[in-house]
């Protein structure tokens, strides 16, 4: 029972940052923009969150600053791709390279200095019973991620603003000719994606390893991008995908910890598994008949008004 519970908690912890980052990217892509800089924005969010947590010990402030740092970095991407219509693929890569370097520079004086992990949201008494712990035992980002799944679904499919966002991603020229600000909508989406990536990054020092390590997100941002494809741009499928990956990563942790049947397989293979699983998942989704039909029609294409 205890072990199951412990595994569950680990799975939730590993899944949450991927889910949050992927939700942000989903909204960005639905507006027709492909931001491949998620990994870089996450690292910037991670270092911002870490530094604030280190100096203030206030994890909520740390999350907020992670979100702000992520947003700020997404604005670089937004300015280049939206205002200057630069190539989105290349700019996203540049953002990841930049985020890696920036976070490493900012974090260079913080190595091996621990911070405290984020405490659970609810009082300990509420989570005293093991079953209650499954529901009430987590810290804020976990609940936040679940709320955002529902909120983003509701936004996209039940609100006018969401309809406009989808319209911009489907056919930018038409949206423009009706009178919507394509660039404006996309800026907002990109900033939202940046904020979510920043929060996701801040989750690493706050939830997973309470210290700063260079490249501590270890490709999770890229997995988040892949998950959006896997989920056919649908928030609830993203939830399923993120937890599938959380499970794979948890198995890796247990395998590394040694013992049990998992350690028969070399630990390096376990470490490679999330990435290989991503490839496998992309292959599986491509086998489906309607694989790419859900992709926003304008995804990745720069917008310039025709007239």
């Amino acid at each position: 029972m205890d072990l199951t519970l412990a595994i569950l908690v680990t799975v939730v912890g590993a899944s949450t940052p991927i889910l949050i980052a992927a939700l942000g990217e989903l909204v960005v892509e639905r507006s027709g923009v492909l931001n491949l800089g998620v990994e870089g924005m996450m690292l910037i969010g991670a270092i911002a969150g870490f530094v604030v947590q280190f100096h203030t010990g206030n994890p909520y402030l740390a999350l907020l600053c992670g979100a702000l740092a992520g947003t700020a970095s997404s604005l670089i991407f937004g300015f280049l791709t939206l205002s200057l219509s630069a190539n989105q693929t290349a700019t996203g890569l540049a953002l990841t390279i930049f985020g890696t370097g920036f976070s490493a520079l900012a974090g260079s004086s913080y190595s091996a200095r621990p911070v405290t992990l984020m405490p659970p949201l609810f009082p300990a008494e509420m989570a005293s019973h093991p079953l209650a712990k499954v529901v009430f035992g987590y810290s804020f980002p976990i609940y936040f991620s679940f709320i955002m799944v529902v909120a983003i679904w509701y936004f996209l499919h039940r609100t006018r603003a969401g309809l406009i966002l989808r319209a911009v991603g489907e056919n930018d020229q038409s949206a423009h000719s009706i009178g919507y600000s394509v660039i404006g909508v996309r800026y907002l989406a990109v900033m939202f994606g940046g904020a979510m990536a920043g929060i996701a990054g801040a989750c690493f020092p706050l939830l997973l390893t309470p210290q700063w390590a260079e490249r501590m997100t270890a490709g999770r941002g890229w997995i988040a991008v892949a998950l959006v494809v896997f989920a056919s741009w649908k928030p609830f499928r993203l939830l399923a995908g993120a937890y599938l990956f959380g499970l794979v990563m948890t198995m890796e942790l247990y395998a590394k910890a040694g013992g049990g049947p998992l350690s028969v397989i070399p630990s390096e293979l376990w470490a490679a598994l999330p990435y290989l699983a991503t490839v496998a998942v992309l292959v599986l989704i491509s086998l489906r008949r309607d694989a790419s039909t859900n992709a926003p029609a304008c995804l990745g294409k720069p917008f310039l008004p025709a007239n």
Partner: protein, 360 residues
């Protein structure tokens, strides 16, 4: 007074060549400013990173051996990116190239003969191609995004090195260090200038760049890459199969990344170590763009990026600038370059207030 973008009748060739230089200069200026603002010696940092490697003749050999893999990989990527094939996993193909070369070196350990090194190189090229073939297969058969697959395979390739040097290929005399044994003489890349560390990979890199330039600008292969990248539907109309082009682009870029990997493991490293994945594969992406996806430009861009690497090390020792600063300078270069791209197809016009209201 406000500015407005205005489409040019013809794309500006001047801007194609001018913007990369402007990007480098802007990076130096803005970089100095930013690093000063955050409390470093900004001007010193720019001087050490961009100028010292050039003025200090002792550093030139470092430049050569750092530029070589960047150029070789960058040339391959520039060909693939021309065709709109986004191979982001050159780092992984570089790693597998190095691993394949190491495999041959270990199999032939202790043997002598001129054939060992060429065999390693062939193995490295094939290794890189094989690893690039996976995303190519998935892209052409199942339309799986090559950006994500090639990148994920990179992460996996690093784990493969860790596994190999921890268990089957571990140096028996290595006192427990996770590394292979030192290659025997026949498996090491010779230096071409006695008394320096400049190895055969340097002239190979320049040759690769020149040959690629000729092929890309004069041959039907180059035309195919350009037309598929510029207008896939027109390419089909012209009789160029898109899938075949994806395969070619992936295999060529994978082969060159693999070549860089095997030259690196046989040259500077001479054994496989955990630090073998040096991110050349990622930096080469910047090299390809800064070189305007033109192999000759890639040669120059490869040297520029090599300068920042060598200079970054200098700045680390002389003014205590953290290693990561190099990455920031490199990313800034790419940002400025991408920002400048708009000047190729558009010109900036100053417009009066009245007309601005009209343009809104």
């Amino acid at each position: 007074m406000q500015f407005r973008l205005e489409k040019r009748r013809e794309p500006s060739q001047v801007m194609v060549y001018f913007t990369p230089f402007a990007a480098v200069v802007l990076t130096m200026v803005i970089g100095a400013l930013i690093f000063s603002l955050i409390g470093y010696d900004g001007v010193g940092a720019v001087r050490e990173i961009f100028l010292t490697p050039l003025t200090n003749a002792y550093k030139w050999q470092d430049l050569g051996i750092k530029a070589a893999p960047l150029i070789i990989i960058g040339v391959g990527l520039s060909i693939a990116y021309r065709a709109n094939v986004w191979n982001i996993g050159a780092e992984g193909q570089y790693v597998i190239g190095g691993v394949a070369g190491t495999g041959v070196a270990l199999l032939t350990y202790g043997m002598t003969g001129w054939w060992v090194l060429p065999l390693m190189v062939i193995a490295g090229i094939l290794g890189g191609m094989a690893y690039a073939a996976i995303p190519a297969l998935l892209k052409t058969r199942l339309n799986v995004n090559e950006i994500l697959t090639s990148l994920m395979l990179t992460y996996a390739s690093v784990q493969l090195i860790y596994f190999l040097i921890r268990a089957p290929w571990k140096d028996p005399m290595g006192m427990g260090f996770p590394q292979t044994r030192l290659f025997s003489e026949a498996a090491r890349l010779p230096t071409i200038i006695p008394g320096t560390i400049v190895h055969l990979g340097v002239p190979i890199a320049v040759l690769v760049g020149l040959v690629a330039w000729f092929i890309m600008s004069r041959s039907l292969f180059g035309y195919r890459m350009r037309v598929v990248g510029a207008a896939p539907q027109a390419a089909r109309y012209g009789g160029f199969s898109e899938n075949k082009t994806i395969w070619m682009a992936m295999l060529v870029s994978g082969a060159l990344a693999g070549l860089a990997g095997v030259l690196e493991v046989a040259g500077p490293f001479q054994r496989l170590v955990p630090g073998f994945p040096t991110n050349y594969g990622f930096t080469a992406i910047i090299v390809a763009f800064l070189g305007r996806l033109n192999p000759l430009g890639v040669i120059i861009a490869g040297v520029v990026l090599a300068i920042t690497f060598v200079g970054g090390e200098v700045a680390q020792t002389t003014i205590g600038l953290p290693d990561a600063a190099t990455g920031i300078f490199q990313a800034m270069m790419l940002f400025f370059l991408l920002a400048g791209d708009i000047l190729i197809k558009y010109r900036i016009r100053r417009v009066g207030v009245q007309q601005t209201a009209g343009a809104a």
